[in-house]
Amino acid sequence: MDLFDFEPGREGYYGEYGGCFLPEILTTTIEELKAAFQDIKHDPSFWQEFEQLMQSYSGRPTPVSHLANLSAKLGGAQIYVKREDLNHTGSHKINNVMGQGLLCKRLGKKRVIAETGAGQHGFATATMAARFGFDCKIYMGAVDVARQRPNVFWMENLGAEVVAVQDGQQTLKDAINECLRDWVTNMHDTHYVLGTAAGPHPFPEMVSYFQSIIGREARGQIQKVAGKLPDRVFACVGGGSNAMGLFQGFLDDQQVELIGCEAGGLGPGEGNHASRLAYKDASVGVAQGFKTYFLQNKDGNMLHTKSVAAGLDYIGVNPALVHLWERERVRFEAVTDAEVTEALKLCMKTEGLIPALESSHAFARAIEEAPKMSKDEVILINQSGRGDKDIFTVADALDDDHWKEFIKVKAEHYGAE
């Protein structure tokens, strides 16, 4: 199945979803971008250059690890994990970012902007900008700045300017709005490095393309280590980039079930979560440049969202995934914050892995389903990132007294300076 083989006149559409809804002033910029992307997509040397860069700078290929302890403990399917956490900067976000960095060079632009939620995409973009010598401005919701401070610290030290966005609900979607505002002002020298497989065409296609490196690697790897294709593949879905990245490796394998795991937050009910498809609180709309399922009210104004994982805390979702969901090729499930914390604790203690809170959504769902599967079945989970960045959130979630004490002492020390 080639998702990107668009019907004439339906460029950028996946079924009913996708498209490009941007102010007229960006038309030329988007056309340039589409052309440049088509160029690289059809230039056989580009993928090589990209793969080479990811190998030498980010340590790709990332391995697939077998979680023998966890599998044994759960007593069902054999669980394997694709280790995107081992990438430079700690998540899959770097795949997309380095790809767009190469593209930006071809576009001749010298400045990049990016939105960020968990901070991983901003961290990756700041890193890419340092490496490519671009000026860099990162927009981040003020709420996210507060809950992902370590990433902010590193972004600034990598030379990026980080802007805490005070509008709206001060999370990812508001950071995207700010990026669009910057972009319509500075498009002549600025490339907008969108961080997930959402937004206007060609971003969902382009981000999916760069992230497809995950699935391309994983398909061969899992066959080698598990001796067969996986029966189920789990990935968390914020905007959808890590899921699209991994799922693409298995789209044509009908026997492989693909499961997208959304942020269930406190559970169903408007404002309690960020689940667009698994719960029933979202509907089709057009915002932030594309048509998809959004968490919105009947007037089309967006709902508040809630999740322990900043990177999943988003109103919309990749349009190709919606299409695949409607065609029943991808199943969607929501995972609550409470389930996420439990899954994270279990992974740390049984396997020595610290998945990011985002990735822990995929783990949680796999952990729930594995015991009901047979021992010769195989699960593949995408560990999209590592949890180091989440130390403040995880410490709060686990209510860690040592940590709190440490922070208090540190603060007193700063206060006394």
Partner: protein, 256 residues
């Protein structure tokens, strides 16, 4: 078309028409009415009533705040149409809906146009709906004598401007510069040239917005366009001192 006649008739008495802007329900519908009374006194020809949206990504800080507060205070699309009906009955100027496409999309194209028409609106400006996606909406609107306003921008190629011109109806909204609403635009020779080109290409009159805030701007625009569009500047005046400041603002434009 109705709008063409309206514009032609208004232009008989002045060099430059004027369109102003109000965010529905911000700070309140009552305040909106007071603003509109002053605008009417100042003799504005059009008013865009912005339907507040939670993701106003093409707007600058002042309108962002206005949208956000209006949404949070519970302003609904239904209320906006009710307000529009009241306004179009009460005032002489013509009223357009301005907003983001999701508002239209969620209602459905026909329902939206029908409601707009029923409320006395004469057209709509939806900046995040590109021509390529506008087909059925524009078609139905035109069939109902509702003008879908298209935008021309300084980054458009000549070829693209021609395409836009073909779709134009009522008037063309010419965006004077890059960026979001609210910033200042230097009305220099380059801008003049661009406006002349748009006027040249456009089969309908041109209105110019983004950064129009002073008498000098209007004087400049009178030479290069058919209408000036004042957005943020009026809201800024209101924020600074409500009716009094807004009156002074229109006074400074030589209109009161």
């Amino acid at each position: 078309m109705a709008l063409n006649d309206y514009i032609a008739s208004r232009k008989q008495n002045k060099d430059l028409l004027l369109m102003t802007h109000v965010v529905c329900g911000y700070p309140s519908f009552d305040a909106n009415l007071k603003e509109l009374e002053i605008m009417a006194e100042a003799g504005v020809d059009f008013v865009e009533l912005q339907f507040p949206f939670s993701e106003p990504s093409a707007d600058g800080p002042l309108f962002v705040k206005a949208n956000q507060i209006a949404v949070e205070s519970g302003v609904t699309v239904e209320q906006c149409f009710e307000f529009m009906a009241k306004v179009s009955q009460r005032f002489d100027f013509k009223v357009l809906m301005m907003g983001y496409y999701n508002t239209v999309f969620k209602m459905g194209h026909e329902a939206f146009v029908d409601a707009l028409k029923a409320a006395g609106g004469c057209g709509f400006i939806v900046p995040d709906l590109p021509l390529e996606e506008a087909g059925t909406l524009h078609e139905y609107a035109k069939s109902q004598d509702i003008a879908p306003i298209v935008l021309m921008t300084p980054t458009n190629t000549d070829e693209r401007l021609q395409t836009i011109a073909k779709a134009a109806d009522g008037f063309v909204y010419v965006v004077a510069r890059r960026g979001v609403t609210g910033g200042k635009t230097e009305m220099d020779a380059e801008v003049g040239e661009f406006l002349d080109k748009c006027r040249d290409i456009s089969p309908v009159p041109t209105g110019v917005g983004f950064g129009v805030s002073a008498k000098e701007d209007l004087d400049f625009l009178a030479k290069h366009a058919d209408m000036g569009i004042i957005g943020t500047a009026a809201l800024k005046a209101w924020e600074e001192g409500e009716e009094k400041a807004l009156r002074e603002f229109f006074g400074s434009l030589g209109l009161l």
